[in-house]
Assembly symmetry: C2
DNA sequence: TATAAAGGTGAATCCGCAC
DNA sequence: AGTGCGGATTCACCTTTAT
């Protein structure tokens, strides 16, 4: 039976309704708490369209920590002993997330670096170009030795060499980036499908159940469906859900398993 | 006057003797892997055996947090308002270090990824090859806007394009790796000079004072001297100090400033 | 139609000083 | 503290418009 569900509601409340040891993989793309305070202009005086969404507002580190402790605790309860937990973040939040995960008993297997092909430059020359985001790949505990890791698939996918913890992937732009009727990006932080493809290919098997507590416009669900995995997504914003549902429903051709592992040039 | 000092003693105790606002740059390479390698004791002094449950782990993490809070607090006091703080770590410790730094009021400017050219593979095929370490570059506080950043030097050093937060650098091997009389490596975690060259070139000026509270075999001091910067190192192991002192004393030819910024191929 | 030039944009904690 | 203004500052990729 195929599970293919998007739940509309508050992340923590909906997580509480999910039974223990239910998920093979949890992928979480939580708010980063970006703390943007000023307007940034490019050298040509155009304005940068930064993340100013309501869902990224927190009053303090303490408030953000309480929020993350709550949803991460539920995720750990839901995760199978053999399962994998992935969380993506930037330097704004990933250190707090990582510390909380360690305190909750998660066991870090890799900190994967998304090394962006085309990051936005630092326009004023005040810092290095921030060219990465970080993904934490964790098992449920130190004792969870039987987590799924498809080493040979990833090795072949990487052209015959063991895949490293650095993934060189472009931003989600062009045709893949979902636009609204106004032509503007539908979600300010849509992730590239290539990122989810690697996460799902490496740490799940076919028919596994994937949970995404911050579903957004459904990249996790779209890739899960294409790869023949089940998923449950939780999202509180109904406008994102409409987009995600349409996106996923429109997928008819699943990816050919024989092609998943073809070597790619990056 | 040139400051070129190696202090033998306990890191935290020696840091306390250094006055406020003294250092232009602090580079710290603290112990990484405190967890689970040491014997744990319960509050009643009984020894914790084998099983590492949630509370055991938390105790271990707590000790590491106390240690880091102590030396990082001293470093922040010592750092000039215009100064830079750098800390290097791996996924074992950098999340805790990052959280503590944020809680102390440090302001993250970049999380620089040291992307290793020649990482050790994962022999068992149980994880992705761990190919990175992380450097946190921070100013003293959010309000510290006048930190030194030699944007143009780094841009030229990077072949004319803005340098990004990903640094592709090899491990410290071959002739650069200091060996003992037994032919074995003198220090288990000696860092490549190229790493320190970028840190020092980007965030200090000539004659600035650099502090390294975990001096080891003196890579920070060696590069500081070659680049015409002053330094103070703290190290508790006298055998490391002997090696570092000899290493630094043997440096006679400083690097030619005109050549620092020549574009390199990486 | 093909090629070239111009314009838009991405999870961004992006200035300094005078008044 | 807020405002205003002078001045220094950007990379890769995709889309649209012009030749």
């Amino acid at each position: 039976m195929t599970v293919n569900t998007i739940i509309h509601g508050n992340c923590i409340e909906e997580l509480k309704k999910i039974p223990d040891n239910a998920a093979d993989l949890i992928f979480a793309d939580p708010p980063y708490n970006m703390q943007l305070k000023t307007v940034l202009y490019r050298p040509n005086n155009s304005k940068v369209d930064g993340v100013k969404d309501y869902w990224d507002k927190f009053n303090s580190f303490a408030e953000y920590d309480v929020f993350c402790t709550a949803w991460l605790s539920e995720c750990r309860r839901i995760l199978k002993e053999t399962g994998s937990m992935w969380v993506i973040g930037s330097y704004h939040n990933i250190f707090r997330v990582g510390t909380i995960m360690l305190n909750l008993g998660f066991w870090i297997l890799n900190n994967v670096t998304w090394y962006k092909l085309n990051p936005m430059p630092n326009f004023l020359g005040t810092r290095f170009t921030n060219a990465t985001e970080t993904l934490l790949w964790c098992s449920k505990s130190e004792k969870s030795k039987k987590y799924t890791f498809n080493h040979h698939i990833m090795k072949r996918y990487n052209g015959g060499k063991q895949m490293t913890s650095v993934w060189r992937i472009g931003l989600c732009v062009g045709g893949e980036r979902i636009k609204g009727t106004d032509g503007k990006k539908a979600h300010s932080t849509q992730k590239p499908e290539e990122l989810l493809k690697r996460v799902i290919l490496s740490t799940t098997n076919k028919d596994d159940l994937i949970l995404d507590p911050f579903f957004g416009t459904g990249t996790t669900g779209a890739v899960a469906k294409k790869l023949g995995r089940n998923f449950i997504g939780i999202e509180r914003d109904s406008s994102y859900i409409r987009i995600a549902q349409q996106r996923i429903d429109s997928i008819v051709d699943l990816w050919d398993e024989a092609q998943w592992v073809e070597a790619k040039q990056w």
